[in-house]
C-alpha cells in the first residue's frame, strides 16, 4: 500500500498513518514543519512502515500542490490512497470581525483541500483505482453561531467530496468523507474537555478501516451521525435561537 498523507503532523493523520505503517505500507508525509515530520517519520519507521518520505510545504501555497503530488508519485512509485487531513480551528469571535481572516480560514480548511482533491481526483480517475479520503467535520453539517466560519468551509468541502465521489464512482475510485466530532488533539487543546471528546488513536483507526473499505461518509465516533441528524432536522426558526 502506497499512501500520501497531507497534514501528517496532525494527531489524527498520524494515528491513521500508524495503522498503515503496521501493515508495512509506504508513506509520503506532507506538512509545514520539517522537524515534526521527522519525528513522525521515525515513529512510523519503527512501527513497521516499509518506506517513509517527507515533504515540507505550507499547503496554502496552492501553486506547489502539483509538484508535491508529482514528488509523492515519484518517491513511492505510484499511489494507492491519499488522506488529506490538514486544517485549523479558527476562533469564531476573531474571524467574524475580519474579512481577511475569514478568507484565510477558507483558504486553509476548504480551498487548499479542494485544490488537492482536484489534482488527485484526476490522477486517480486515470489510474482507475485507489481511495481518496479527506477530513471534513460534523461542524460542516449545519452552521452554528459559535463556529460557522469553520463550519461553512467544512460544509463546502463536504459538498465537493460528495460530487467528486459520484464522478469517480465510475472509475472505481473511492472518495471517503470523514466527519469527526470533538477529538482531543493540539487543535482543541484550549477547549475544556468533556466525555464527548474522542481519543485520536480511536479516530485514526476508524479512518484507516473506512479507507480500506472505501466507505462513503463516516462519522467518528459513530454516534455523531445521529446527533447531527437531529441537529439538521431542527427547523431554522428554532435553530437560530440556540446559542452553541
Amino acid at each position: 500500500m502506497k499512501v500520501l498523507v497531507v497534514g501528517a503532523s496532525s494527531a489524527i493523520a498520524h494515528e491513521t498513518a500508524r495503522c498503515f505503517a503496521a501493515d508495512g505500507a509506504a508513506l509520503f508525509l506532507v506538512g509545514r514543519s520539517a522537524e515534526k515530520l521527522a519525528a513522525i517519520q521515525h515513529d512510523l519507521e519503527v512501527r513497521g512502515a516499509s518506506k517513509v518520505a517527507t515533504y515540507t510545504l505550507d499547503l496554502n501555497e496552492l501553486a506547489q500542490h502539483e509538484a508535491m503530488i508529482d514528488a509523492a508519485y515519484e518517491a513511492l512509485g505510484g499511489l494507492d490512497a491519499a488522506l488529506i487531513a490538514h486544517g485549523t480551528l479558527p476562533n469564531q469571535a476573531a474571524v467574524q470581525t475580519s474579512v481577511e481572516q475569514t478568507m484565510q480560514e477558507f483558504q486553509t480548511n476548504c480551498l487548499s483541500t479542494i485544490s488537492l482533491l482536484t489534482i488527485l481526483g484526476n490522477r486517480f480517475e486515470q489510474q482507475r483505482r485507489g481511495c481518496i479520503a479527506a477530513i471534513s467535520s460534523v461542524a460542516g453539517d449545519r452552521g452554528r453561531s459559535s463556529n460557522y466560519v469553520y463550519g461553512a468551509a467544512k460544509g463546502a468541502l463536504t459538498v465537493f467530496l460528495s460530487g467528486l465521489r459520484g464522478r469517480l464512482e465510475k472509475s472505481g475510485v473511492a472518495v471517503v468523507t470523514i466527519k469527526p466530532g470533538f477529538v482531543d488533539t493540539p487543535m482543541t487543546a484550549h477547549i475544556k474537555k468533556n466525555p464527548l471528546f474522542a481519543k485520536p488513536g480511536a479516530v485514526g483507526k476508524r479512518i484507516y478501516t473506512a479507507m480500506l473499505k472505501g466507505q462513503d461518509v463516516v462519522y467518528v465516533p459513530w454516534f455523531w451521525r445521529y446527533v447531527m441528524w437531529i441537529i439538521r432536522v431542527l427547523p431554522e426558526s428554532m435553530f437560530k435561537k440556540l446559542s452553541f
Partner: protein, 446 residues
Amino acid sequence: MVDKGYAGDHRSWGRYPKIRRQKVVPVYWRDDEIDLSAIDGTILPYGLGRSYGDSCQNEDGTLIDIAPLNRMIAFDEENGLLRCEAGVSLADILKVIVPRGWFLPTTPGTKFVTVGGAIANDVHGKNHHVAGTFGRHVTQFELLRSDGTRIVCSPDQNVEMFRATVGGLGLTGLILWAEFKLRRVPGPFIASEQIRFRNVDEFFDISADSEHRFEYTVAWVDCLATGKQLGRGLFMRGNHAWPNKVPGKKAGQRSLFTVPVDLPWFALNLVTAKVFNTALYHSQLGKSKRKVVPYDSFFYPLDMIHDWNRLYGSPGFIQYQFVIPFDHDRSAIRSIFKQISDSGVVSLLSVLKVFGDVPSPGMLSFPRPGVTLALDFPVRGQRTLNLLDRLDRVIQDEGGAIYPAKDSRMSADAFQAFYPQWQEFSQYIDPKFSSSFWRRVTRTTE
C-alpha cells in the same frame, strides 16, 4: 492508544484520595520549546494514571500530560535497543517488538503504563529475581528541567541525576524520551505452571525451588483464609516458550469487557470477597497445572477487563504493597497474614513474590531483597486505615518499606523511616515540581 475513561479524566487508578482542583497541560512535541516556568504553581508529569494513590496527583497545581508524547524514535533490532518518547505505553511497545523476537526487560502487571512512568517508579515484575527493576535496563533518557535545561542522563553520564530520576516519582523534571534494552524471546508464548500451596511455608518452598529454573514467578494468596489455611494460594511460574512447543495458537489478547459503571460500594464485601478467593483457590483441581499461554494472559490478566478499578465503586480503593527482608522462621510475614485475616478487613486480590538481590538503581527505588506482598482494600473508613497503620509499624520494625507508587495514606514519619535517603534525594528535585504524595510524606511533624 489507551483510553483513560474520557479525555478529561486525570485521576489515579485507585481513585483515592479524591483530588478536586488540579489543572492539566498537555505536551505535544519533544523538540518544541517547552516553558515549564510559565505555568502557575507546581507541576507534575502524568502518563496513563496507573499509579494507585496520590503520587500521580498534584492538588492545587498542574499535571503535565505526557500521553501525546507517544512516538517511537529508533529501534536497533540487532542489539535490542529501543528509544521512544516518554508517553509511549508498554502495550504499544509490545506490539512493535514481540513480532520481531524481542520482549520487555521486565514488566509490571499492567501494560497500560508509560515508559516515563516505568522509570519514575522504577517498576518491577515477575522476573525481579533475575532481571531486577526496569531502571536497570535504561541506557539513557533526556530530562527537561523547569529552568529550560535539558539533561541527558545515563548510568555513566549525569549519574546522580540518573539515580535520582529512576524511582524519583516524577519530581526531578520531565522525562522527554528514554532508551532501554530489550530481551530476546523465541516467540510470544509463555510455558506456565500453576501450583496450589496450602500455607506460607509451602509458598516459600515452591518459591525457592522455582527461582533458578523459572524466569517469572508470582503467587496469588487468599488473605481471607484463616487458621491452618493461612496464606494458601496459587503459585504461578513460567518461561518464554519455544515455538515448537506451541500447538498452533494465536497470540492476540481479547479484551473481555469494559466495566461500564461504578459498582455500588457495597457490591464488594467480606462475603463476595470470600466467595471470589475460595473459588479462585479451588479453580484448579490438581496440585499443579501446566499450560502454554499467550504472553498477555500470563502477564496482564487484569488488562482484559478495562477499567477494573470501577469494581470497587466510586469511593475507590487502597493498594498496599510492602517488602520485608527475609527472616529465618518467616514469623514476620506469618504474623502480618494473621493480622490481616483477623482484622476482618476485605482484601480482594493479594499478590506475593520473593524479590531477588539484584540492586535497584534508583535512590528511592522500592524493590530490595525480601518478600513483597501487594493487597487491595476498598475504601471503607477507619478500620482499614488503622490496620494499615499497624502493619506500617511491623514493616518498620522489620526494616522493610512501602511502595510509593501504590500508596495513598502512609504517614510522613513512616515514609521517612522507610526511605531515610529522602533528604539526599530532595536536592535533585526540580524546584517547580511537586506532588500530593510528596507534600504529604515530607510534611514536617511537630
